[in-house]
């Protein structure tokens, strides 16, 4: 093990830390509390350094790091606040505890830094003391293994950076999030999300909320997706989250439905009960549907409750005025294909224009198969032109060799070619090149 201690010594760049171990034990005894109070004012400037050192020491001490780092952090905080009040003897007592050994090194290191930077509190006698002490030490001096292990290595964490990559190995929250499957790379590109995630503590902030999500029934595999899309769920108050889930349950959504809604629309639980209530009322009133049907529509497309209502109102107007559907027809379309409410208006009108004016489909036929309004325009066009070329573009159910619209749109290419068009896939691709 002495080899290990020597290795550690060699690895460390700063022999000054070793120096400060020696010296500061002497310094602390000789210092007066006045200096501690003045140094305590600078505590904010050195907090980053202390966090580095504390993390380094915790790494050396043990990998069950969470509790250790927090304890150490709190000890340091206590240290700073108690510096002004407690006498030195109380601090000297702490040194007996082996865990505090690294803590004292931390404090000592901080004091060392402050001595280096401050000009005011350092007296001449101290400076001379430092110089004398430095001469008597050497880097090749053998120390015991415990001392070697407890020498804290300052880790090179940058105080400010643009990427979470620099912190992920040292931060417990971030490493656990990566193991869950959260896409940190995407999240750090959003403004302020990176710093918010860093400030979270895993045990007090993240874990309770993840357990809450598990309780409502969200699967573990979806947690990564939910957090990648909506990291702000981790800063939402737990009480609020519970109230909102209870509200949804009171509106007769079953537990599985609530779980599936949350997994598909991660922002759902960030909205207040009032807003959710407002949305549900709007859909029920505007569409004129029964409660059961509204619940069904919202359960299938939960992001209806998340986004703004203006585009939905515009889409309804488009369906009514531009496309010329009647009330009951719109109701049927929305219940079958809720996505029409959030579709792009230009694309919707383009598809409808092609269906009605080029393919000559009457309204009642489109209402019978609303999936066509959800399909891609290019797909409908290519397949229709292919059938037209083969002479099979017959969409009237009353006439023979009728092609139903849902088969035209939903079948995959090879099935469409063989069943509907009675041709091969190569023929279809060759035909596409003649368009």
């Amino acid at each position: 093990m002495s080899i290990v201690s020597l290795m550690l010594l060699a690895a460390m760049a700063s022999s000054c830390i070793q120096l400060c171990c020696r010296r500061c034990s002497g310094l602390l005894r000789s210092k007066i509390t006045v200096q501690y109070s003045t140094q305590a004012q600078h505590c904010t400037a050195v907090l980053t350094a202390s966090s580095r050192v504390s993390n380094g020491s915790s790494f050396l001490a043990g990998i069950c790091a969470a509790s250790h780092t927090r304890q150490r952090w709190r000890q340091q905080m206590c240290f700073y606040s108690e510096h002004k009040a407690k006498p030195l003897t109380a601090e000297a007592n702490r040194y007996k505890d082996a865990e505090e050994l690294s803590g004292s090194d931390v404090v000592a290191y901080k004091n060392r830094l402050q001595n280096a930077t401050d000009s005011l509190p350092v007296t001449d006698s101290q400076v001379t003391l430092d110089v004398d002490a430095a001469k008597s030490l050497s880097a090749l001096e053998e120390i015991s293994d415990e001392e070697a292990v407890s020498i804290s290595v300052p880790s090179a964490l940058p105080p400010a950076t643009t990427s979470l990559r620099d912190y992920v190995d040292k931060s417990e929250t971030l490493s656990k999030l990566v193991q869950l499957g959260v896409n940190l790379w995407k999240l750090e590109q959003r403004p302020n999300v990176g710093s918010m995630l860093l400030k979270l503590d895993f045990q007090t902030d993240v874990a309770p909320r993840l357990l809450f999500l598990k309780d409502i029934g969200v699967e573990d595999s979806r947690l990564g997706y939910i957090l990648s899309t909506n990291p702000f769920i981790l800063s939402e108050d737990l009480e609020n989250l519970r109230t909102r889930v209870n509200y949804l349950r009171s509106m007769k959504f079953s537990s599985e439905t609530v779980a599936s809604m949350v997994s598909r629309a991660p922002y759902l639980l960030n909205f207040s009960v009032k807003r959710l209530d407002n949305r549900l009322a709007f859909y029920q009133q505007q569409l004129g549907l029964s409660t059961w049907k509204t619940r069904d529509v919202v359960a299938r497309l939960p992001r209806l409750l998340c986004g703004s209502l203006e585009p939905v109102k515009e889409n309804l107007k488009v369906c009514q005025i531009e496309l010329g559907f009647k009330e009951n027809e719109i109701q049927h379309i929305v219940v079958t294909v809720p996505k029409v409410l959030t579709a792009n208006k230009k694309k919707l009108t383009q598809i409808f224009d092609y269906l009605h004016n080029t393919m000559k489909l009457p309204h009642h036929l489109i209402v019978k198969f609303p999936q066509v309004l959800n399909a891609k325009y290019l797909r409908i066009k290519e397949r229709h032109l292919f059938l037209q070329y083969l002479g099979k573009a017959q969409y009237d159910p009353t006439q023979p060799s009728y092609v139903s619209l849902d088969r035209l749109v939903t079948l995959p290419d090879d099935t469409f070619c063989t069943d509907v068009a009675s041709a091969t896939l190569q023929d279809f691709h060759l035909f596409l090149k003649t368009l």
């Binding site: 001490a61 043990g62 082996a98 415990e146 407890s150 499957g181 790379w185 691709h429």
Partner: protein, 341 residues
Amino acid sequence: MTTPCIRMFRRLEGLFCVYKPPGVHWKHVRDRIETSLLTGVNGTPQRPLPQVVKFLAQPGAGNDGSSELTLSAASVPVLASHPLVSGPEFQRIPVAVGHRLDAFSSGVLVLGVGNGNKALSDFYKTPATRDYTLEGEFGTATDDFSHTGRVVERSTYGHITQDKLERVLAMLQGANQKALLMYSNIDMRSQEAYEMAVQGLLGPEGKSAPILKGLRCVRFEPPHFTLEVQCLNESQKYLRKVVHEIGLELRSTAVCKVVRRTRDGVFTLQDALTHHHWTASDVMGAIQQYHSSKKLRKSPHTQTKDPTIQSRGEDKKTESQQSEISEETAVSTVLHTLPVH
């Protein structure tokens, strides 16, 4: 250090062509191809994360102070290299477009990936011609010369015969031939001019007005007609204007319904990928095909300056005819196999 992603990207470098469907902007085509290539390249199986050795002291031993410390070495993965933290390996792939096609037209669109973009700029500068198929309809004239524009004029077309159409086309071809000789900047009375004309190398260098090197009528069923064009330095709007002018010359009006590029340099319709085949593996296949055909082309034609122009000068019309015929036979076989109704 080459990862599987980089190796796959190296195999993707080169030129290939796609079939751009009508009504789609060429930029959307380019973006869609870039996304599909990125998913293909980033989808290769990841290497395992690099490991780092950390020395961990047993928590019990450290507190005693007296007994020997037992340090255990643990190999821990470095999470900073995980793709969820550092992002995918490839975030952009340089995909460039050759001669552009406007949204109304369709046809062969040449794209280059990575190192192929250098070949693309050379390809862009060579005076290679392009083949187009123009479908027109007599009877209307619109403001943007296509059937989707605002109708400006309507006229009768009963008096048009194929003979009159051929005469107009011949007149146009003659005018274009004169323009070709004028833009080629060579004294017509020299031996050099004759030799170049024999090889088909006469042509403008760099930018010039659009020139139609070949023009003929393939199908004539009034009011519909189809033309085949070989041209240089053209734009698709110019070609629609040509159809409009043909209508005017015939004392009627015409609009262009389809502008379809069937060949761009050495890339023909047969090599073009339809949008079902815009995946990384299909594109890789097309690029490898291009590389192998390039080697074949280089070996027999070592003497001539520009093998593409030479082969094209000889078989300009037959190539396009062949591609048309092969297409039509392929589709007509489909028709024949269907039950008569």
